[in-house]
């Protein structure tokens, strides 16, 4: 009996893999293709690859500059979001003050504004400040993430309140409690937020597109998207630089995959 059930379980397992595996291969096929195509010339994507193309693409386009910009934007935004989210989430999760829930609701409401709506007034705003096509212009609007606040608030609420009271009794002020009692056990949540914020910023497109003009300021996402228009280079060049854009994300994904998954699961 037990044996039969076991065999059936194994069989089911094999069947399910047989179904899922080809799909999984389909999922990564475009990435493999990208790896291959970048090495081919346009006319003969089935002939043997030509490694020079990748180098040529890198030489012809300011991909290095794009990557640098992306790195600067993403790191600055990560730092800002983690800091502002953690402090705000602590206040919302732990401190009592009049109007707390209403304020939190107001925060959440900003989540519902579509990106394409906010882009217009934000552009006008940084235009007034003279920040169009500058680092601060791209970065400043992104320094707070309500999703991040929400995520950390959820996490902070799971930390027992007694922990905080114990610290308070021992003479710790709010900042000490935040910094030494709340933040240390929350490192996984902070890491999740940092990873998600980095990836989100790295691949953000609309805002950098609008807020930058010169190729010296563009991040890689915008830089490669515009190549067709500005540089009229061939697709294999484009794909080569697309690969440059994806590689950092892939590395991040494979190193910090559990944070990506946690981030996705936290959204429910």
């Amino acid at each position: 009996m037990g044996n039969r059930a076991g065999r059936r379980g194994t069989l089911g397992r094999w069947v399910s893999y047989a179904l899922a595996l080809p799909l999984a291969l389909l999922m990564i096929a475009p990435f493999l293709y990208m790896a291959a195509v970048a090495l081919m010339s346009e006319r003969d994507s089935l002939r043997p690859p030509v490694p020079e193309h990748f180098a040529a693409a890198l030489a012809a386009l300011p991909v290095g500059r794009f990557l640098l910009n992306s790195a600067i934007f993403s790191l600055a935004v990560v730092a800002g979001q983690v800091l502002t989210s953690a402090t705000a989430a602590y206040a919302f999760a732990r401190l009592r003050f009049p109007g707390r829930d209403r304020l939190f609701l107001a925060y959440l409401c900003t989540l519902m504004a579509p990106g394409v709506l906010l882009v217009i007034p934000r552009f006008l705003l940084i235009d007034v400040l003279g920040w169009v096509d500058t680092y601060q212009g791209v970065i400043s609007t992104e320094l707070v993430s309500v999703t991040g606040i929400f995520l950390l608030r959820q996490f902070f609420r799971t930390i027992p309140r007694d922990l905080e009271d114990a610290a308070r009794l021992e003479g710790a002020g709010e900042w000490t409690i935040f910094w030494r009692v709340i933040v240390p056990p929350s490192r996984p949540a902070l890491a999740t937020l940092a990873v998600l914020a980095f990836a989100d910023q790295w691949r953000s497109f609309l805002w950098p597109l609008v807020a930058t003009r010169s190729s010296a300021m563009r991040p890689i996402e915008v830089g490669i998207a515009n190549l067709g228009g500005t540089y009229a280079v061939s697709w294999s060049y484009q794909v080569a630089s697309a690969r440059a854009a994806v590689i950092p994300l892939m590395v991040l994904y494979f190193v910090a995959q559990k944070y990506f998954i946690r981030g996705v699961e936290e959204t429910i």
Binding site: I28, L118, V119, P121, L124, E265
Partner: protein, 611 residues
């Protein structure tokens, strides 16, 4: 001093500082307008003299006796408000007994050729006919300015005093007591701010009127004395700095307001000769149009007192612990709250404002058009077709969701944890990578000649398909890519949802004799319902925001076949440069998405409890 007394003293200081600063600022603004008027009158008079005074027979200078006559005649102009002294070199012409102009001041004028201020008078350079050299100066005295506020403001000030005293007394009393007195105080303070603003605006309007009136007089006088001017009024442009001369009709001698080019502007009719009229129109932003910035400043100052009273009343009525906690909370919230105020809430207000105006970054004027933008986008068939197309596009969500759910059920329960998470890692890969790169790769995959897809199709004998180039297939191709991108995300969410369902339920169903399909249908699926609704609604909302993908993959084409609504808005704003229309449409979209999210929250209100 008791804490209460300290609070009261602080509030008293804030109250008086707010009111006094406000009055001082209003006074400053008003005398600023007077000074502007004086400077303008001086400039206009200098220009007038340049036009009407004959040149001396020898040399480039003016005929001095003539200049003297013209200068003295200025004094006689009816209703002219400028009070002048005119210097030839340093010598006063109008009142010979007046002190002469300092040599240093004249030197300065020579060097800079711009209006200068000497004490109470604006000094405009008097140029020779050719504009080569500064031969003298016109000094115009600014009105000292009257008492800075009108009776209305004075009344408001009195009310403010009463309400302020009331509030001061209420500090330290129980909550309901101070609520009753600080509320009215705030209202009165706002009233006071508005009244003073009205004064400032009135002063600006008055100065503008007098400037236009004076300029009109000078223009008419010039036309009377120099006949050529009558047919070429452009020669008067130097007289009317800050205004433009446009063809016009007869009209009263006082200035009036009219909407022109999207803004209300002050204007006056000038009669150059019988039957020959021009209109002198203040440039946009001149005069009272530029006073709008004062309103927030004045209201902010007016709010100082009430805010201080509120803070003090709250502080004294609140237990120290709660007070400390509140202060700490706002400290922690300050960075995010300020940021959201500046970069989310203010933009949301601004976008509403923009949507009510004809607004384009390439046009200088922004006319208020009320709801015209909304009406236009509502009537635009392209908008409706983009919306419809987006709805069709959003069908990819249920499609990929079904796939993801099936996959989750297949690999979720069975199989080792390691195999499941390895598979999931593959599926989540596109979600973790960049949209633009994905779009580029798929562009290549879909390439009609060299793309992988078509190579496979050709080998199978199905002929090449121009996936992205054919309006019939383009949207489907974009949807396919979207499924590919989101499958992993949805799979991950469903796997998490499945994991949250206790195994005992399924075991119970198995004991009851349910087969695999029945277990899914009767147990798993109902328990997953909240997750499913969540994925569906957020997916569709996301679909309405898709932009980068179509922008890079298809550019909305071919023939608009993939022109989704978010991208459509983007193009209205950044390609057609119609910020007003784009804002209106984006706000409409926002309203719809807001409703959808709200509905979702209502739907998910009763989450499943596994008990």
């Amino acid at each position: 001093m008791s804490p209460l007394a300290r609070w009261r003293a602080g509030v008293l200081f804030a109250m008086s500082a707010g009111a006094l600063l406000l009055l001082a600022l209003a006074q400053r603004a008003q005398s600023g307008y007077e000074r502007t008027l004086a400077a303008r009158d001086a400039t206009a008079a200098a220009a007038y003299l340049t036009i009407v005074t004959p040149v001396a027979r020898r040399g480039a200078g003016y005929d001095l006796p003539q200049l003297l006559i013209r200068a003295r005649a200025l004094e006689e102009l009816p209703g002219f408000s400028g009070r002048f002294e005119i210097y030839h070199a340093t010598a006063p012409l109008i009142r010979a007994t007046a002190p002469p102009l300092g040599a240093a001041a004249l030197q300065q004028l020579r060097r800079e050729v711009a209006v200068r201020w000497t004490g109470e008078a604006a000094l405009a350079p008097l140029l020779d006919r050719d504009g080569w050299d500064v031969v003298g100066a016109v000094a115009a005295r600014a009105d000292a300015g009257t008492w800075p506020v009108s009776t209305w403001s004075l009344g408001a000030l009195l009310l403010l005093l009463v309400a302020g005293t009331q509030s001061l007394g209420a500090i330290g009393r129980p909550r309901h007591a101070w609520r009753q007195s600080i509320g009215p105080y705030g209202v009165v303070a706002a009233l006071f701010g508005v009244a003073v603003f009205a004064d400032v605006r009135g002063a600006a309007a008055d100065a503008t009127d007098r400037w236009l009136y004076d300029t009109r007089l000078l223009m008419q006088e010039a036309a009377a004395r120099v006949p050529e001017i009558r047919s070429a009024p452009a020669g008067l442009a130097t007289l009317a700095r800050g205004a433009e001369i446009v063809p016009g009709d007869s009209g009263p001698s006082t200035a009036w307001r009219r909407a022109a080019g999207g803004a209300v502007r002050a204007a006056v009719a000038v009669r150059l000769a019988p039957g020959r009229w021009v209109e002198l129109r203040a440039r946009p932003g001149e005069g009272e149009a530029g006073t709008a910035v004062w309103l927030p400043v004045l209201l902010g100052l007016a709010a100082l007192g009430p805010l201080g009273a509120l803070l003090a009343a709250w502080s004294t009525a609140t237990a120290p612990r709660q007070r400390r906690e509140t202060v700490a909370a706002w400290g922690f919230l300050a960075p995010s709250a300020l940021h959201l105020a500046a970069f989310s809430f203010a933009p949301l207000l601004l976008v509403v404002y923009v949507s009510l105006h004809r607004w384009s970054p390439i046009e200088p004027t922004r006319a208020f058009v009320a709801l015209a933008n909304y009406g236009r986008v509502f009537r635009d068939p392209l908008v409706w077709s983009a919306l419809g197309r987006t709805l069709v596009y959003a069908l990819y969500v249920p499609a990929s969701m079904t796939l993801a759910l099936g996959l989750a059920v297949i690999i979720g329960r069975r199989g080792s944890g390691a195999a499941t998470s390895a598979l999931r890692a593959f599926f989540l890969l596109p979600y973790a990578s960049s949209v633009v790169a994905i779009a580029l790769v798929w562009q290549w995959m879909y390439h009609p000649d060299f793309g992988l897809l078509n190579q496979l199709l050709t080998r199978a004998g199905l002929g090449p398909v121009n996936w992205l180039g054919d309006p019939k297939t383009a949207l489907a191709a974009v949807m396919l890519v979207s499924v590919w991108i989101h499958l992993g995300y949805q799979l991950t969410v469903f796997l998490a949802g499945l994991r949250a369902i206790p195994q005992t339920y399924l075991d119970a169903a198995r004991v009851d004799g349910a087969n695999a399909w029945q277990r899914f249908r009767r147990v798993t699926f109902p328990l997953l319902a909240p997750v499913t609704v969540f994925v569906l609604v957020t997916g569709i909302i996301g679909g309405f925001q898709v932009l980068a993908l179509v922008m890079v993959l298809t550019g909305g084409g071919p023939l608009g076949a993939t022109d989704l609504i978010a991208y459509h808005i983007y193009r209205i704003a950044w390609e057609r440069q119609q910020f007003g229309d784009a804002s209106a449409l984006a706000l409409l979209l926002f309203a719809v998405l807001f409703g959808a999210t709200w509905a979702q929250l209502k739907l998910l209100d009763r989450r499943v409890e596994y008990g």
